[in-house]
């Protein structure tokens, strides 16, 4: 952005005390601190990619080309692509429909549904797959992967869409309806369009998460690039070749990102002010109540009932092996600590990047923001090894396998989840309000705290919860970076599951689900409260 004319013409200005300068001169300038903070975040998130490039170079061009262009690659590519497309589409439909019903209709028991619909995100995919695969034979391969993954990740669409429907300006719907537009048309032309950014953001997350998924596909016997990368890690002792293959994932996620960018277009949705988010009288469902309720019941049964049921079954059916020294409360506490830590860090780190992208767009800044999405499609092992590599080389293994290092690893892995939540809500907080506040003599920081963040509140909470829920189920990076001797719910579940001690593994799965229900519930209540406050 060019220097404002006032500055350009009057030469170097004497340093003015903060807060008293002319607002007009500062308005157009992007704060340097914001750019610096965003660049620092982007640099941190680029570490895994840098690691991949360094390692892949070590593998040599001939090895890399041989690996990437062998016969298996075509099969893996086809498997990965078709699964990503089908599951992303299904998640978009289910997530958006569920969000609309919960947020905009008189759905009976909507507070409970609001929690139940989110919880499946926190059930480890390997638990979901295990539950399904132990019930029905057909849950295998492609169809199995579609069912299991859709049910496991649709909340990634639901959460941002629900947040955005909460915050959207209902005035536009009212206007449309008063002009005689039908309900359906209003839904498609106004409501969906308002939520479009959130839907696309959710889909982007789903697609990237699918690219990096491993545990579920391993159980379902479905081969993708990521399962192949894990094979490479585990059979060949060759980090270099595994990293070379991971670069293919990076290319795939670039394609996904570009696709999302194209679909998003330049549409910008804003609303007239914070108070515009008053709640519309919810739509009456009328005769549709029973079918809609049945749909929610079915979704909950499939996404929640199957894994929970399988876990309970195993508690009673499993044998009586025992491992000592493992405490369920201890593992629960560790899990909550890591999830909470990473959630907080990511929410804070996402702010500058989101602010920059939303308030001061420009291609370089957008590029910077988009680049941070790449980590989501990288397998956790890659990110953990990257941190291990850099601390060994450049930091004398300082803090290696410590709590801060592990939390940092989670923060890197799940940063894009936080970014989507924060960005979606910042996009709805009109910049003009900030400007008004600034013109009234408020400092930048004060505006950020009192105006911007308050408007972005629900998005921040959603960001925190998304990261928290993802950390609860993370396994592969955890095993590499967790302090020795410490267990999370996921690692302990894994230990038992590896041991075929399903009876002992099951309680850990159930506690994981219970732990995840807490933020989901808080999130639901939080939305409710802010809605009432705005009424």
């Amino acid at each position: 952005m060019a220097a404002p004319p006032a500055l350009a013409t009057s030469g170097p200005l004497p340093q003015e005390p903060r807060g008293t300068g002319a607002p007009a001169a500062r308005k157009a300038r992007t704060p340097v601190a914001l750019i610096a903070a965003s660049a620092a975040v982007a640099a941190l998130l680029a570490l895994p990619l840098l690691f991949l490039l360094i390692e892949a170079r070590g593998a040599g061009t001939s090895t890399v080309t041989r690996l990437v262009f062998r016969g298996l690659t075509r099969e893996l590519l086809w498997n990965t692509v078709r699964l990503t497309i089908v599951v992303t589409f299904l998640c978009a439909v289910i997530g958006t429909a569920a969000a609309w019903c919960v947020e905009r209709t008189q759905l009976p028991g909507r507070r409970i549904w609001a929690v139940l619909v989110v919880v499946p995100l926190a059930i480890p995919d390997f638990v979901v797959s295990f539950g399904w695969a132990s019930l029905w034979n057909w849950v295998q391969g492609f169809q199995g992967a579609v069912v299991v993954m859709t049910l496991a990740v649709y909340p990634l669409v639901y959460l941002p869409v629900a947040a955005s429907l909460r915050a959207a300006d209902p005035g536009q719907e009212e206007v449309a309806r008063s002009l005689g537009t039908g309900r359906l048309r209003t839904f498609f032309r106004i409501t969906l369009r308002q939520a479009r950014g959130a839907i696309l953001g959710g889909c982007l997350l789903v697609a990237l998460v699918l690219l990096a998924e491993y545990g579920a596909f391993e159980i379902l016997g479905y081969q993708t690039f990521t399962t192949e990368i894990f094979t490479e890690f585990s059979v060949s002792f060759s980090l270099a070749t595994a990293c070379a293959l991971s670069l293919v994932l990076v290319v795939l996620s670039l394609i996904v990102l570009a696709g999302e960018g194209l679909l998003r277009g330049k549409g910008r949705v804003s609303r007239s002010g914070a108070l515009a988010a008053r709640r519309l009288p919810p739509h009456r469902l009328g005769r549709a109540t029973i079918p809609v309720l049945a749909g929610f019941a079915l979704l909950t049964l499939l996404a929640l009932g199957v894994p929970v049921g399988a876990s309970i079954y195993w508690i009673f059916a499993g044998g009586a092996h025992s491992l000592d020294g493992i405490s369920l409360p201890g593992a629960t506490w560790q899990t909550a600590l890591y999830g909470g830590g990473a959630g907080l860090i990511d929410t804070v780190l996402a702010l500058p990047v989101a602010l920059l992208a939303v308030r001061y767009p420009g291609w370089a800044r957008n590029f910077l923001e988009r680049s941070t999405y790449l980590v989501l499609a990288m397998p956790g092992v890659v990110i953990a090894f990257a941190l291990s590599y850099f601390t060994e080389r450049y930091a004398d293994s300082f803090l290696y396998q410590s709590t801060p290092m592990l939390i940092l690893c989670y923060a890197i892995m799940f940063f894009p989840l936080a970014l989507v939540g924060v960005k979606a809500s910042l996009a709805r907080a009109p910049a003009s309000l900030d400007e008004v506040a600034r013109s009234l003599g408020q400092g930048r920081l004060a505006v950020l705290l009192r105006v911007t963040l308050r408007l972005a509140g629900p998005g921040l909470a959603a960001a925190f919860c998304l990261v928290f829920l993802s950390v609860v189920t993370e396994l592969t990076a955890t095993l590499i970076l967790i302090p020795t001797g410490v267990q999370t719910l996921a690692t302990q579940f894994w230990v038992y599951e590896q041991n075929v001690s399903y009876g002992q593994a099951a309680p850990f799965a159930l506690v994981m689900i219970a732990v995840a229900a807490v933020p989901s519930y808080v999130l639901g209540r939080f939305f409710d409260r802010s809605a009432h406050a705005q009424r």
Binding site: I219, S234, A317, R454, A456, I480, Q498, V500, R529, A533
Partner: protein
């Protein structure tokens, strides 16, 4: 900054609601860090870190007895053994690992080739028959398993099972065979076939078994065991102890499968050894060597021998201890004659499996 003190705003959104939890998390993190740092820094041979790819219950039983006997604390770090090997390589001279305990020899052989292991004390090596130790002396054999067929008699009668591993390639087994090519237990069989019949034969054999196992290519031996037992696959290759473990977990009443050995000295008849080594980078060499010595001592071996203690079902191989599990004694096994040096780190087998499209 006039605004910080205003606290009458609505509760939503304000950053301050995060300060308290943030402070709590930071404080806790520092506390934990201090705790861990203290533990790791005390390198006075009072505690060691064990990177373990062995089954957790077995490891736990052995570690408990060792701690009780010596007063040395053992911090166990479980993970897939190949990932642990990758990790040790990445960690280099800073590796926190003192001892590496694996289910199979290839990761140990690989680290040995890279010069990352310390020689094992000769007295420790002497407890285990030389054929089960590293020829170079950098790792010691702790326990053993043997590759077998698991089959479901309702789907394939014992009389129709192959007795030679090459027969797995016959078209009549199409749709019946289950394999887990990613498992470290599978590579030694491929290396044996390669050793016995040469590269061309091994490659076409791999291609045929890939076709025969279509739809039944599983990630691990546990899955093969449970799938065959539940009738979703007719038979598969596993190591014998997975069947015993499955039986212990689900109860003999739910076992609908059985195991069968290959013909004596067939390349499919392979003994896999679980071993342990001390890392060259370890700052607790003495304590680490003590742990290795314990693993192959009579006390350690008796824990492995007793499934009630270790749920291991592996064969003890050192100090003259024999298994208490109801299975064919180790001395009666007739494996294919191949040394661990010849088994190596499995890279040739992996290259071949990749060529056949199995990996």
């Amino acid at each position: 900054m006039v605004s910080r003190t205003t606290s009458s705003g609505p509760p939503r959104g304000g950053r301050k609601r995060y300060w308290l939890p943030a402070a709590a998390v930071v404080a806790l993190a520092c506390g934990l860090l201090a705790g861990c740092g203290g533990g790791a820094a005390g390198s006075s041979d009072k505690s060691i870190t064990l990177y373990s790819g062995q089954h957790p219950q077995t490891t736990q039983a052995l570690v408990n007895a060792f701690e009780k006997k010596t007063g040395i604390d053992v911090n166990i770090r479980p993970n897939d053994e190949d990932t642990l090997a990758d990790q040790i390589m990445t960690e280099g001279s800073h590796s926190p690992a003192d001892v590496f305990f694996t289910e199979n020899t290839p990761p140990l052989e690989h680290l040995q080739e890279l010069g990352l292991l310390s020689p094992v004390a000769p007295a420790t090596l002497a407890h285990t028959p030389a054929k089960y130790n590293s020829p170079q002396g950098d790792w010691v054999g702790v326990s053993a398993r043997v590759s077998v067929l698991i089959y479901n008699p309702a789907l394939i009668p014992a009389s129709q099972l192959p007795t030679r591993v090459l027969q797995l390639a016959e078209p009549k087994y199409h749709g019946k065979l289950a394999i887990a090519p990613q498992e470290t237990d599978f590579q030694p069989i491929v290396t044996s076939v390669l050793h016995a019949d040469g590269k061309t034969a091994a490659l076409s054999w791999l291609k045929s078994i890939k076709a025969n196992a279509a739809g039944h290519i599983y990630p691990d031996n546990e899955t093969i065991a449970s799938q065959v037992n539940s009738g979703r696959a007719a038979f598969g290759i596993i190591n014998q102890y997975y069947w015993y473990r499955l039986r212990a977990e689900i109860g003999a009443g739910k076992i609908h499968s059985n195991i069968a050995h290959f013909a004596p000295h067939d390349p499919g008849y392979v003994i896999n050894v679980s071993g342990a080594a001390v890392l060259k980078s370890s700052k607790n060499q003495a304590a680490a060597q003590k742990f290795l010595a314990f693993l192959v001592s009579k006390q350690g071996q008796e824990i492995i021998a007793n499934p009630a203690k270790s749920i291991s079902f592996e064969y003890p191989i050192a100090s003259g201890v024999t298994t208490m599990a109801p299975e064919m004694p180790l001395a009666q096994l007739r494996p294919y004659p191949i040394t661990f040096g010849e088994l190596g780190d499995g890279t040739t087998a992996i290259a071949l499996m990749r060529e056949a499209g199995l990996l």
